[in-house]
Amino acid sequence: MTETVLDVSDLEAGYEPGVPIVRGASITVNKGEIVVVLGPNGAGKSSLIKAIAGLVPISRGKVLLDGKDITGAPAHTMVRLGLAFVPQTENVFPRMSVEDNLKVACGILERRQAPARIEEMYAAFPDLLRQRRTPAGNLSGGQRQMLAVARALIVHPKVLVLDEPSAGLSPKFVSMVFEMLSAIRKSGVTILLVEQNAKAALAIGDRAYVLVEGKERHEGIASTLWDDPVIAELYLGQRPLRKDSARHTETGGAA
């Protein structure tokens, strides 16, 4: 029995009117799954999840969370609706202590619940407990990511949405972040993430989508997707062509 938590259908979104970056993308996330969105640079992966999280204006399509229409809801209402988002960068409040970073996210919890919930986060992330008085800006990249994830989890979201959680981290921290996400999923949290680091993300994911030019082009079981020839073609650029044309696609996309 699969229960759909997040159902995104035919989503069109972009920062400027008439210039959609996400062009009719449809994805679903089932309860307890880790779903990975892959794709070349400039495919609109980040824009897709930012649109889902209420950060990029949506011009068409629907986002359903547990059957409830949350399309285009203001970003600050998303945690209350059950969707917690972890941005790629600047995802902690740098001059607030680790503890205050967690406390400030407890706004939607009942006042009495907050201290217990913070303790639960410390139990799950002992590193944060050790650094509870440290300004978040002084944490290492991996710990910062940990804090950002803890901040998002603290409100018991129905789905945790992450934008490239391994970006900019050293290899040691990359594996730490993916182990952390895998552990979080085991505790029953549903996860949707966008990743550049395809191999590591597929290793912990259940299903994956490949997004190309703002639309999902391929969907599959994460563990087999890496070997799927379609992936090589869609994700790594047109492999049959010359090598420098692949690079061309990448720079063109980034711009």
């Binding site: 941005p87 740098p94 001059r95 205050d100 939607i108």
Partner: protein, 302 residues
């Protein structure tokens, strides 16, 4: 040598500091320099004066609380005046600042606030004329407290009020959920929204705190000096100096900055000559900024 300048400086510094809290909060959370902040001060003072007049009309003459120069009407009026100033700030934000803040360039909101400042000031002159007025014309006898210092009961009361308000605002901003939301907004507005913070309500709280404190500072000036439509505008430069000196965004910094500017001015008046008042306070400001460009409690932007 008389140490009278210490008391004078602390009093001036309290007024500047209370005003500078609003300046620094508006700058760090709403991200623009509000040049109308001084006029909130003046409007709050005149509102308080009007309420004092209304109470006098209703209850007749009320004896002051000995040994102070004022009675309960001024205390009640101050609360009403602070609420009025907060409403004025919220109204101005709704009709003017909220639109201008949406613009890409912060200078548009700054210029808008300059316009609002002039309009508010002229309106006050229009309603109340530019002739100075007073809460009380009674003369208080200053008590000698040693080291050549004399202080009036009013001055003591207002210093205590300042200390209590500063402590209260500090606790509010560092220990409560509202305060943490304000900090979050000033450090990363985008993430604050993602973390579920209602930006609009944080903006409202910011205006209310800033405007209410401006009103208190204005009433202090009214009690200790005099009430004039230009009283707030004249405080604008010292308030910005205090906010910058203390480190923009820092409430303890704004208060300390205010006290430093106040003491420097009072010291200059007593030790060098009154004409050097502004010069000394700005040389102090520059000296601190040369050593520490981000201000005393300032933080480097990422």
């Amino acid at each position: 040598m008389s140490l009278q300048f210490v008391v004078d400086g602390l009093l001036t510094g309290s007024m500047i500091g209370l005003g500078a809290i609003g300046v620094t909060l508006t700058y760090s959370i709403l991200r623009f320099s509000n040049f109308a902040h001084g006029d909130f001060m003046a409007w709050g003072t005149y509102a308080t004066l009007a309420v004092v007049g209304a109470i006098a009309a209703m209850f007749g003459k009320v004896a002051p609380i000995a040994p102070l120069s004022f009675g309960w009407p001024l205390i009640v009026a101050l609360v009403v005046g602070a609420a009025f100033t907060a409403l004025l700030a919220l109204l101005l934000d709704k009709v003017l600042f909220s639109r201008l803040r949406k613009q890409e360039q912060a200078i548009i909101a700054v210029m808008g606030s300059f316009g609002a400042s002039m309009a508010l000031r002229s309106l006050l002159e229009f309603i109340f004329t530019s002739r100075p007025t007073y809460f009380s014309r009674a003369i208080q006898i200053a008590m000698p407290v040693g080291f050549g210092i004399r202080i009036t009961p009013d001055q003591i009361a207002l210093l205590i009020l300042t200390a209590a308000l500063v402590l209260g605002v500090h606790v509010l901003t560092t220990r409560t959920q509202t305060g943490r939301s304000m900090q979050a907004m000033s450090q990363n507005p985008a993430l604050a929204r993602i973390a579920g913070i209602d930006v609009a309500s944080v903006v409202r709280v910011t205006w209310v705190i800033g405007a209410a404190l401006a009103c208190v500072a204005g009433v202090m000036i009214g009690v200790l000096v005099q009430i004039r439509p230009l009283m707030g505008f004249d405080m604008l430069l010292p308030m910005f100096a205090a906010a910058i000196l203390g480190g923009i965004g820092s409430i303890p910094g704004a208060v300390l900055g205010g006290l430093i500017i106040g003491l420097a001015e009072a010291g200059a008046v007593q030790l060098i000559g009154a004409e050097w008042r502004a010069a000394v306070s700005f040389v102090t400001l520059m000296a601190v900024l040369v050593v520490r460009p981000i201000g005393l409690f300032g933080v480097r932007e990422r």
